[in-house]
Structures are given as structure tokens and as C-alpha cells.
């Protein structure tokens, strides 16, 4: 039996480069104006998985992502860097999932991929910064979690040992596998694309993607089955409908406000000696300082 590592990765809008056009007039986010990227810490997670694979002859790295058809872009991206294959979990019924519904859906997909040894996810996704999906998936699968990993130090005799990065220090912990690990941004960056793998996988497509393609991939995919990205919908997962999507999400968004700077009553002064002195006197008299 091979050593199976499942990497959870999400395609996210690049919230770090939000321009003026990223917010619509009504205060909602204009997702279309933001480039969709591989969630940064999921790349750190992928690298940890690939490092284990480098050391082990029979390890395989499977990438799992839940999202719209377009999310298969990151499955290809992961394959260019060394992942063996990927699964796209996609269905309209998943829309509106909060972290509880997302982790439930992901846990069902993971169960279909059993037996597995490690699940590696990013610490958090930059669209919500919640850091909840990893631990919640671990709970649903009934396996231990190790969060904020900076280095998966060893996987031996069915024990994984991990160095964790905490707010005020570090911890080294170990536990039996299977286990779920979430990876922190302080872990090593992901390796670059490999040009051979890029050539090999650039025509990898998921079924719904093929439906949108003008080019006919039927021939190619029948010769090279590894180019088919597996796709799972609700029908493929043994799901309780009540726990999916919006229905399965206990948290509701009541209100969204755009962050707008409000002009305060503000005194503007120059760096002129007199003005600076007057300000200091005012601050002292008002007991703001001193």
C-alpha cells in the first residue's frame, strides 16, 4: 500500500491586491475584479507534502479542492509542481457553504480516498482568514490535528513529528497517523513549476471544463487517462443534504460594510516651531500626555 497524502487547497480571490475597482458601489465585493490564485498557505502545504514524497519511494500526493469548475486551475498548478493527481469537488448545491458545511463536504471526499496517511491543508484561506476548515475536517474524520506546522520533521513507524509555529514560540509534537496537519506561512515556500510536468499535465481537464472547451480532448484523454481530473458532485458523495451548502451552514452573513475612511475633524499644522509647540502645550493641558 502506498503512502497517501491528501492536500487540501483552495482557489481564492487575491485579497492582498485589492484595487479601487474591487468593491462595487453597493459595498459588495466584485470578485471578478480580483485575480483568482492558489491560496498562499496551501502552497506551503503542498511543499510539505512534496518533501515527504521526495523522501519516500511509494508516496503519492493527491490534491483535493472544492469550488467552481475554474478551481481545477489549481489542481493543474499543483501537478506542475509534483502532485500526482487531483479531485475537483463541485456542485451548485455546495454554494454558500460556511466552514462547517465545507469541512463536512471535504471530509466525505476524503473518506472516499481512504486509506490515507496524512491530510495536509493550509492554515487559513485569505478570503476569510478563518483557519477553521482544517480542524473541522479533522474532527469530522475523527483524527488528530496538528495546526500551524512549520516543518513536518519525520514520518516513521506510523508516527508523524511536526514542528509548530505558535504566537510566542515553537512546539514539536508527534502523533500516530492518519492525522491532519495545517501549514503555516513560515514554512518553506513551494517549489517552482517543473517544465517536464508542465508539458505532461497542461492538457489535464475536469469533465465540466471539457464541456466549455472548443477543442476536442476525447482522443487525447483516451490515450492519456492521467489527464482526466476526477470530478465529484453531490451524487458521488454519500451526503446528508441538510448538511450541505447554505442549508448546512449555521453562520449567516447579516451585513457587509465596505471599509470607508471617514473624515474626522482634523487639525492640520505645519512643522513650524510655533505650531509644534502650541500642539504640545495643548496635549499637555488636555492631559493627553504628561
Amino acid at each position: 500500500m502506498s503512502f497517501r497524502i491528501i492536500v487540501l487547497a483552495k482557489q481564492v480571490p487575491d485579497t492582498r491586491n485589492v484595487g479601487k475597482d474591487a468593491m462595487k458601489a453597493d459595498g459588495t465585493v466584485n470578485r471578478a475584479a480580483l485575480p483568482a490564485i492558489f491560496n498562499p498557505e496551501d502552497l506551503n502545504a503542498l511543499e510539505q507534502a512534496l518533501r515527504i514524497k521526495d523522501k519516500m519511494k511509494d508516496a503519492e500526493v493527491i490534491i483535493l479542492t472544492m469550488g467552481p469548475t475554474r478551481a481545477s486551475e489549481i489542481i493543474r498548478e499543483a501537478m506542475y509542481r509534483g502532485a500526482d493527481r487531483g479531485y475537483l469537488i463541485t456542485d451548485r448545491k455546495f454554494a454558500g457553504s460556511d466552514t462547517l458545511a465545507t469541512s463536512y463536504t471535504i471530509s466525505l471526499a476524503v473518506k472516499k480516498l481512504a486509506p490515507y496517511h496524512l491530510i495536509i491543508s493550509g492554515r487559513q484561506a485569505i478570503d476569510g482568514d478563518t483557519a477553521q476548515v482544517g480542524p473541522q475536517a479533522a474532527e469530522k474524520l475523527g483524527i488528530p490535528q496538528i495546526t500551524y506546522a512549520e516543518d513536518v520533521q519525520s514520518v516513521e513507524n506510523n508516527i508523524v513529528t511536526v514542528k509548530r509555529r505558535l504566537e510566542r514560540g515553537v512546539e514539536v509534537v508527534s502523533c500516530p497517523m492518519p492525522a491532519l496537519i495545517t501549514v503555516h506561512s513560515s514554512a518553506p515556500a513551494c517549489r517552482n513549476r517543473n517544465s517536464k510536468l508542465l508539458m505532461k499535465f497542461k492538457h489535464a481537464r475536469a469533465v465540466t471544463e471539457l464541456q466549455e472547451e472548443t477543442k476536442d480532448y476525447t482522443e487525447l484523454h483516451s490515450h492519456r487517462p492521467y489527464l482526466k481530473i476526477e470530478e465529484w458532485s453531490v451524487a458521488d458523495l454519500d451526503a446528508d443534504f441538510e448538511m450541505l451548502g447554505l442549508t448546512g451552514s449555521p453562520t449567516k452573513v447579516k451585513k457587509i460594510e465596505n471599509v470607508i475612511l471617514q473624515q474626522k475633524d482634523s487639525k492640520v499644522i505645519s512643522s513650524d516651531d510655533k505650531e509644534v509647540e502650541a500642539l504640545m502645550v495643548e496635549l499637555i493641558n488636555n492631559h493627553v500626555i504628561g
Binding site: M23, S103, Y148, P250
Partner: protein
């Protein structure tokens, strides 16, 4: 039943600041909802823990005391919290948005199948009407948090599941003692009934936790420097001013990235959140991620050579000028005018 629960973090026998801050907020919410405030404390040698907690207005403390429960591990603490919550049925459950709280709370929320909102910066009680069904909800917890990289502020509610769970950022709630003579009761958790050996399969091999040396959170005055300060040497001016007025030095991420100052001083979304009575922003442009950590300051002074820097919009006073020119003047005139 229907009370407010706060999970308290312990380090070396002391309740962490973040937990005391959340208890202070919890007390106010409890007064508003006319319910009790309860604390869950898990660790070892907790004999005297109530003396640290009662002053914050805690009515009931659930203590789980066992040598195996310190330092914190996920599964054992989750088992205790989940079982206490199943018995006590809290209305609201709050955790710190810390390495511990953000590891524990999702595990608990998943086990209880309830909603959880991460990283809240504000908690408010309010009503809600469900548009589709017209169902009315009274006294829900509005869980308010920045999202989308700090570009939006979202209000999240959990209408139907209990407890309503949230993690709360460190430094955003004010730590307030209710009364040094406040009295509550202590309940011992029956650990044997709640945890099994399986909950200890994650072993801690090594642990290095640094005492928090620099703590700018509780400083009444913060002199913060940004990339515009220009160098590590120029930052000395900021330390001088801070020392003089009894403050601490803070920084923007750009200043930290440039190596001018230590990361522990970073203010903002990925640093600490502060609310001093005076925040002096020197050479800081005021990016949304920075403002997220300081815009609740009582007064803000911006020193910037760009009259159009966004920080000026939230400043009470803007000094248009060069940092290395203005700060020595502030130091001089402070010395001359203070008694």
C-alpha cells in the same frame, strides 16, 4: 443553561490577558442578557485560579485540573469543552483568537455542529428577522469581523444553533475589573467521565514559549513608525519620544519588513491591535491593514510629509513635515512645557 461561557487560556498558572479581556466583554453581554458569566479553565495546579477570575465578574468557574491537561493539547481540551457545553448548553461561547483558541474552537464547533465566527473585533447583541420566512430572532450575538483582507467588515449571526461561538482578537476588548470582592462558585469537572487515553495521542516533545517581552498593547501612548522613518537609526528618535511620555514604540509592517524594528511591535491586521489614548503615527501611510489595528485609538496624530496620506483622514492632528525634523521639536517643547 443559556449562559455565556469563556474558555480561559492558562500559561504558567496565569490566566492570559486575552481571556480576561473577553471575560470583561462577556460580563457586559451577560448583564445585557440578564444571564450568568461562566469560565472554563483547563490545566493543572489550578487551586487558586478563582482569585484571578472572580474580580472580572465570573459567576461560575468550571475547573478541569489534571497534570495531563497542561500544556494545552487539542483533543483533551476539546473533549472537556464539548462535554461541559453539552451539559450546560451555553447561549454564547467565546475563545481567544490565538494559537490555542483558533485550534480549539473549530474542533468544538464541528463536534457540536454549531456556527463559529473567527477573529471578531466587536460583539453586539441585536435582533434579526429572517427575510424569507419572516422568523424573528431576539437577542442574537452579532459577531463583527474584518474580512476579505480587511477590506470589508462583516456582521455574522448564528440564528439557529447554540452556542453562538466566536473567537475574539487579542487587545480589542478592554480588560476591566468589576469588583475585587465579586464572588462566584467553582465547579470541578469530572474529568474521568469526559476524557479517555485516546485524547492524549498527540505528544508534546519540545516546547519553547517566550515570555512576552515587548508588550505594546497596554501602553497608554504609542509612538509608531512606518517606512517613512527611513532607517533603524531614525527610529531612535521614536524611542526617545516614547520614553519621555511614558509610551511604547509601535510600527507598521513595512518598517518591520525593512528591519527597522522587531515584529513584536507591529500594529495591524497581522500584528497587534491597540487602542491607546494617543497614537502618534510617524511616516505611516495608513493602509487598511494597519488602520485595522489602531483606528480605535482615542486620539491620533499623524506626522507625514504627504498631506494626502490616507492616515491623515483618521487623525485628530496632522503635522505635515519630516519625521526627523518634527520629533526632536516635539521632544524639545514637551520638556520645556511639562511641569
Amino acid at each position: 443553561m443559556n449562559n455565556i461561557f469563556v474558555y480561559c487560556e492558562i500559561e504558567n498558572g496565569n490566566v492570559e490577558d486575552v481571556s480576561l479581556e473577553i471575560l470583561s466583554k462577556g460580563r457586559k453581554l451577560a448583564n445585557q442578557l440578564n444571564c450568568k458569566l461562566e469560565a472554563v479553565v483547563i490545566g493543572t495546579q489550578l487551586n487558586n485560579i478563582e482569585s484571578q477570575l472572580f474580580p472580572y465578574g465570573v459567576d461560575v468557574i468550571h475547573v478541569a485540573d489534571d497534570p495531563r491537561l497542561y500544556p494545552y493539547t487539542t483533543l483533551s481540551h476539546a473533549a472537556v469543552v464539548v462535554n461541559v457545553f453539552k451539559e450546560e448548553k451555553p447561549e454564547i461561547a467565546l475563545f481567544g483568537a490565538t494559537s490555542v483558541g483558533r485550534d480549539l474552537a473549530p474542533r468544538v464547533a464541528s463536534a457540536l455542529k454549531c456556527g463559529l465566527t473567527a477573529d471578531c473585533t466587536s460583539l453586539v447583541i441585536g435582533d434579526h428577522t429572517e427575510n424569507k420566512t419572516g422568523t424573528e430572532y431576539k437577542n442574537l450575538l452579532y459577531q463583527i469581523r474584518p474580512a476579505f483582507g480587511g477590506n470589508i467588515i462583516a456582521t455574522i449571526i448564528n440564528p439557529d444553533t447554540r452556542p453562538q461561538m466566536a473567537t475574539v482578537r487579542e487587545g480589542v476588548m478592554k480588560k476591566e475589573i468589576v469588583s475585587t470582592t465579586y464572588q462566584g462558585i467553582v465547579k470541578k469537572v469530572d474529568i474521568g467521565a469526559f476524557i479517555t487515553d485516546e485524547d492524549f495521542i498527540v505528544k508534546i516533545i519540545e516546547r519553547h514559549i517566550e515570555e512576552q517581552k515587548i508588550n505594546i498593547k497596554s501602553a497608554p501612548i504609542i509612538v509608531a513608525g512606518g517606512y517613512g522613518v527611513g532607517s533603524k537609526e531614525n527610529f531612535k528618535l521614536l524611542y526617545d519620544l516614547a520614553d519621555l511620555v511614558g509610551g511604547q514604540v509601535g510600527a507598521s509592517r513595512a518598517a518591520v519588513d525593512a528591519g527597522y524594528v522587531d515584529h513584536a511591535r507591529q500594529v495591524g491586521q497581522t500584528g497587534v491591535t491597540v487602542r491607546p489614548k494617543l497614537y502618534i503615527a510617524c511616516g505611516i501611510s495608513g493602509a487598511v491593514q494597519h488602520r485595522a489595528g489602531m483606528d480605535q485609538s482615542v486620539q491620533i496624530i499623524s506626522i507625514n510629509n504627504d498631506p494626502n496620506a490616507p492616515i491623515n483622514l483618521i487623525a485628530d492632528y496632522t503635522i505635515i513635515g519630516n519625521v526627523s525634523d518634527v520629533i526632536p521639536k516635539m521632544i524639545r517643547y514637551y520638556k520645556e512645557n511639562s511641569k
